[in-house]
Symmetry: C2
Amino acid sequence: MKWELNSDRPVYVQLIEQIQAEIISGNYKPGDKLPSVRDLAAEATVNPNTMQKALSELERIGLLLTNRTSGRYITSDEQMIKKLKAESAKNQILEFIDKMHQLGFEPEETLNLFIEIVKSHKQD
Amino acid sequence: MKWELNSDRPVYVQLIEQIQAEIISGNYKPGDKLPSVRDLAAEATVNPNTMQKALSELERIGLLLTNRTSGRYITSDEQMIKKLKAESAKNQILEFIDKMHQLGFEPEETLNLFIEIVKSHKQD
DNA sequence: ATTATTGTACTAAGTGGTTAATACAATAAT
DNA sequence: ATTATTGTATTAACCACTTAGTACAATAAT
């Protein structure tokens, strides 16, 4: 797993988002075992405490489960993941519409611009 | 002007974004005079230093101009604003596509979901 | 000339996130 | 039984952001 971290927002929040995205997108499958906190921290070049903070939060949400010393696992609740995926997508879209609206674009214009850009990117 | 601030990210960054959006969307017109730092700070219930920091940055970019004691003004360079608007929109769209891709959606799927949501929101 | 308003600068204190270093508890592996 | 690996907890230090309070310089308004 490759990590993309910057200092714009708390690192632990970015870790949460990226691990969650890996689960939602299916790169991490339900039931998969995660590397240890220390390994994950090393991989992301982050302090173990910071990684721990992110994992605890994901556990609180229910996306991860801990088996004391055998490690941490992705939830096997596929329904939950599916639901989370739909929710996340909707939130992203609404947030996007809102931001574009703040810039002065109505949804129709936004849609047209979006189509434009997708087209021009296909040609690459 | 109404302000929407949270503690997720530095306040001064959010101030920059929101003032910039007001200019781009045309709510602030080229050449318009801004309220004083103190007034803006009071309006946003933020410390004057924080507002000052945001305004300085916008000035550095060239969006604002200062006339020592007569106050601050929006740039009259309409071309610059227009350009910024196009750039901002494109960045928002690319960022959005990227986030959706991280969730496992290809641009086509994203487009369909987007259309779905815009439709369902029209019916409100 | 005086006053009020403007932007600007500075210092001190508080908070939250991050790193570092260390230690402990539980258990899988041997 | 012993060892290694796991998650977890604690303490101290550092840094960026924010607030608070104050002060100064320039100039528009009077």
